[in-house]
Symmetry: C2
Subunit: 141 residues, 2 copies
DNA sequence: CCACTATACATGCATATACATATATCACCA
DNA sequence: TGGTGATATATGTATATGCATGTATAGTGG
């Protein structure tokens, strides 16, 4: 049987999120990072010393979800935490190991982006990403 | 900080999936069903005797994921399984309890749909859902 | 009927998700 | 300065997700 088009906006987005995540995770597999972890590493490489809450806002993730994922990355020694002036905060940085891992994953991610655009060649991706980001801004928070 | 627009198609979809799921789950909360469970109950109410694999295809879910969720619904006595002529298959039906639960959730889901369209009033939702379903068809499988 | 392969579902493991709640720290004010 | 409410993060619990693998049954060629 084929996938059905659900009337539910949420269900439709979840369907798409699942199949697209599977594509990306499969293509990232040789690097040993999953797409969620890749997003975090990439963000930290660009913005060092982001806090847990800052990252949660940027990625539209619940901070309790992010806490668990950061713990995994920390155990892998891909990121490390420092305490800021506000001692409640944890300021995160990517480590040398994490950067190496990210650099290994980067071309695989680009391959996934390319494969995604190939598979979705009859979709207006500019319009789609604009709409999707609007949803994140308007529905989130 | 505000959410950032990610260059990653997958990350963007996951951001949207998260915030929209939170909206729907919050509005469904009085019914005691989550949006994933709601989708399954609604599908089974419309299509009795669907198998695990048939549902997985329809919902674009991995069948091993679906197995766990079906188990929860079965333990709640909202659905029940029968064995078909092919004794490997499990044919699922919604129970009277499940139907009642679904009917309780239905108006809450409609409220979530309405609230979603209100929040996303400057998004072309027809175009968005068309694109999103195309992704499910083209990227999935 | 008997291997052999394919299919349907389940299980082990790891990660992702978030609500309710707990804890530590900060900011402010009396 | 000490109390009080707010904020940043962590933890308990439950569900969601999917890959690798296992098990039972079906189908097929001899």
């Amino acid at each position: 049987m084929k996938p059905i088009r659900l009337p539910c906006y949420c269900g439709s987005l979840r369907q798409a999120s699942r199949v697209v995540t599977q594509l990306y995770d499969q293509m990232l597999k040789p690097s040993g990072v999953k797409i969620t972890q890749f997003s975090i590493l990439k963000l930290l490489a660009a913005c060092p010393d982001l806090t847990t809450g800052g990252m949660a806002d940027a990625l539209a993730m619940d901070s309790t979800t992010l806490t668990r994922t950061l713990k995994i990355l920390q155990e892998n020694r891909w990121i490390e935490a420092a305490t800021g002036t506000d001692r409640r905060q944890r300021c995160w940085r990517i480590t040398a190991d994490g950067l190496q891992r990210l650099q290994h994953a980067e071309p695989l991610w680009e391959g996934a982006q390319k494969e995604f655009t190939r598979l979705a060649d009859d979709v207006d991706l500019d319009s789609l990403t604009r709409s999707v980001f609007l949803l994140v801004q308007k529905v989130g928070g």
